[in-house]
Symmetry: C2
Subunit: 462 residues, 2 copies
């Protein structure tokens, strides 16, 4: 239990931005998934890197665990404390620090959300293209190495982050890079903290790469008789190097869920949603025509352009509604999501075997995928009170991960490890690589206070 | 001095692939730069990851330093031992392990060179686009986080490596990733070993991203009255997001050197060399036309297409000859190269101030740059026996790095730290970040045997 002495120290730092109220603590023990932990003893809302430093130093002195919290949109339980302690909520750190339009970069505080940044950039001709669906904080997106629908063209947070400010476990603040586009000057600390889920330090600021808004944007949809035909189209598009900006797969279960929830009328069949970004209308038309030809050759149907801003917005809204549309299939349910990524040549096999598994299950599992990267999800609505549901969702997840790893893939394409994927890490990386991760954790957080119990199974729980 | 007992152990592992001959040891104490170290006590040429494991385990037991060696094309002294010990030459590990054409990836041993891979891929329709100039080994390129002329379009080794096999300091072999295009499954060990210059382990295999060979390629040159106009063109091209595949700057000194060495007849003025990759001739023509318009608006002259394979080959040969052309300006000299990278908005300032510095120096400093990334080099021919030359080259380098860091740039864009940039690391990253790097080094190589005396200044030498 966090001592009164520590709480008093934290109050000195943050004043009334320290809360011990039950509702606030409960909010910080949950995220948008089936995972749950315990209540933090208190929640603190720092307003600057210096305050985070003071909080971390105080917690270190009192040997008190710290868990960083952003928008709470995590899907694997990263922000859920497992040992109580202090929840460090970064949402008050929501300033755009500096936009360098000429250099296509921006520095933001960790609590700035993706949509807030997008709004700020609107008049600049620039954009931050990463789109994981949720309006996550950028600090959270970096911490989970998030990506989403546009990663096939613009990469993931690994690629988007130029530099970070991080408060490490000893309360010091470091900057992990510069605004240079590339560097060979020492160990890549930026990439070490991206995806570390707050277990090595707390990200307080990020310098991000931006892109010019494309002069022309086009979009299209098409449907297939089988998932195999859809995936074969994707493979051909990627192999030809057609620079699609998004290429999303929805299976027939997902399309049906979307139709019910978003009042769309897509054919209840496997579908691909495309977006093209280019220098000119002629340029994107060329990309779309190439894709149309491939789709036709793979028995695709009704390749339909949706180029107007309104048509595109409706289409991507439907895609983004997939999560809630899936939950709506079973009122009152919570989402159990999966997230594997495999080499694209194995994608059709992986999806086919997974759907065969689901066909024998009592659970529904609508499938959506960022298939240009070989990444897909099931969104299984479960009753969190039903042991049977949870056991079945776990069984399906276990078999899916097993399958992905056998195909030289990964147990998490973009959602991170958190609590949900810890049990797969040793199988994916092997004991020697996991020992390297443990050595890094031990070196940078020797007291195991930074989001303990995430990513690396703790000694007691192995 | 390496003991006979250790040499005998290494002979058990590698048989006659262990050499203690003077010529071989001398070759492994040098690289293509002015840096020099000491002779290794012996050179071993392992043929497999298992042999590297046995070598590392034996050296660890005898507390013997190890320095990995590839093509020897390093420019900052990475492969030059400073404490003797064993040079681990990976050039016998030159097998292409597995090409997965459908997935656009290939797994190679660390001693495979860039040109060897390119030759292997020739009939596959695929390419490995990274081109640092030298025919470096891919293990060496990963270890220095190399990039080169195509990074503006295809990224650096940071982006090109999907997974590594690494022998760590305890003799264990780990695989740092899978063939999945993206992953959020734990700490990014791949990016930690990319750029670690063999100080955390020895890379023995790499899985690399490939790209489809572009259907159409075009190239062009143009010249300017001033470097400022040339750089202004580059900034406009990058900001508009025109997907140039290469955009290289040569200053008038470099163009003159190239003309003399390669018997070309370019105007002795600042020049830009371009390459465009696209889906069709129309596509690259569109890119070239956009660039031509920008160049014209910035007072550029003679935008000239060089599209035939022969014309392009001649042009890029001239560009690649820049290094030797610079040395030829002063027969018998060695190269002192610099390598900074700055935000592109500061590039013209940085180059202008650097050229003003050179104008007052007795040294020549032809300038070449991967300017789409804000990265440029001086290639200063120096007499390695002249204390005056070396002091002056160091002075110019110091002032250049100072300037780049003040502009929020980096002391090394792509050549790495090695011996040459160690003294700038604390200034670039700050003491707290450098302590994080030291903690990682200490955790993964507690005996300080993996390429000791590189990247991080040793306690005694600070």
């Amino acid at each position: 239990m966090t001592s009164e002495a520590l709480l008093s120290r934290l109050r000195d730092v943050a004043g009334d931005r320290l809360s011990t109220g039950t509702a606030v603590r409960e909010h910080h023990s949950r995220s948008e998934s089936h995972h749950h932990g315990v209540l933090p003893d208190a929640v603190v809302f720092p307003a600057s890197t210096a305050e985070v430093q003071a909080i971390v130093a105080a917690c270190a002195e009192y040997r008190c665990p710290m868990t960083a919290f952003g928008a709470g949109s995590s899907l694997e339980g990263h922000v859920v404390p497992v040992h109580g302690g202090i929840s460090v909520d970064l949402t008050r750190m929501n300033r755009i620090v500096r936009l360098n339009a000429e250099d296509l970069d921006v520095t933001v505080e960790a609590g700035v959300t993706r949509k807030q940044l997008e709004k700020h950039l609107r008049s600049s001709g620039l954009m931050f293209p990463l789109d994981p669906g949720a309006d996550a904080t950028l600090g959270g997106m970096a911490s989970t190495r998030a990506s989403g629908t546009t990663a096939v063209r613009y990469g993931t947070m690994r690629d988007a982050v130029l530099a970070l400010t991080v408060v490490t476990a000893n309360g010091r603040a470091i900057r992990t890079g510069s605004r240079a586009r590339k560097s060979s000057a020492g160990y890549d600390l930026t990439r070490l903290f991206v995806g570390a889920e707050g277990t090595l330090g707390i990200i307080t600021e990020l310098t991000l790469r931006l892109h010019g808004r494309p002069e022309a944007v086009a979009a299209a949809t098409c449907w297939f008789d089988s998932i195999d035909d859809a995936v074969a189209s994707v493979i051909a598009i990627i192999q030809l190097g057609i620079p699609v900006a998004r290429i999303e797969l929805l299976d027939e279960v997902q399309v049906d869920a979307v139709n019910r929830h978003s009042r769309t009328s897509y054919p209840a069949a496997p579908m691909l949603f495309f977006e093209f970004h280019g220098l000119s209308a002629a340029n994107v038309a060329e990309h779309a025509a190439e894709v149309s030809g491939i789709v036709e050759a793979q028995n695709g149907h009704d390749f339909t352009r949706a180029d107007s801003p309104e048509a595109r917005a409706a289409m991507w809204q439907a895609r983004h509604d997939a999560f809630h549309a899936s939950l709506a299939l079973r009122p009152g349910s919570r989402a159990w999501t999966t997230d594997v990524c495999v080499p694209i040549s194995r994608l059709a096999d992986c999806i086919r075997e997974t759907k065969a598994d689901l066909a024998t299950s009592h659970l529904l599992g609508p499938l959506v995928g960022h298939v240009g990267d070989g990444n897909f999800h099931l969104i299984m609505p479960v009753d969190p009170a039903s042991a049977e549901d949870l056991a079945e969702a776990e069984r399906i997840t276990d078999r899916l991960v097993e399958r992905a790893l056998a195909m030289d893939g990964t147990c998490s394409g973009e959602h991170g490890v958190g609590l949900g994927k810890m049990r797969f890490l040793e199988q994916e990386h092997g004991p020697a690589a996991l020992d390297v991760m443990r050595a890094i954790k031990q070196a940078l957080d020797p007291l195991n206070l930074m989001n303990p119990g995430k990513i690396l199974p703790e000694a007691g729980s192995r």
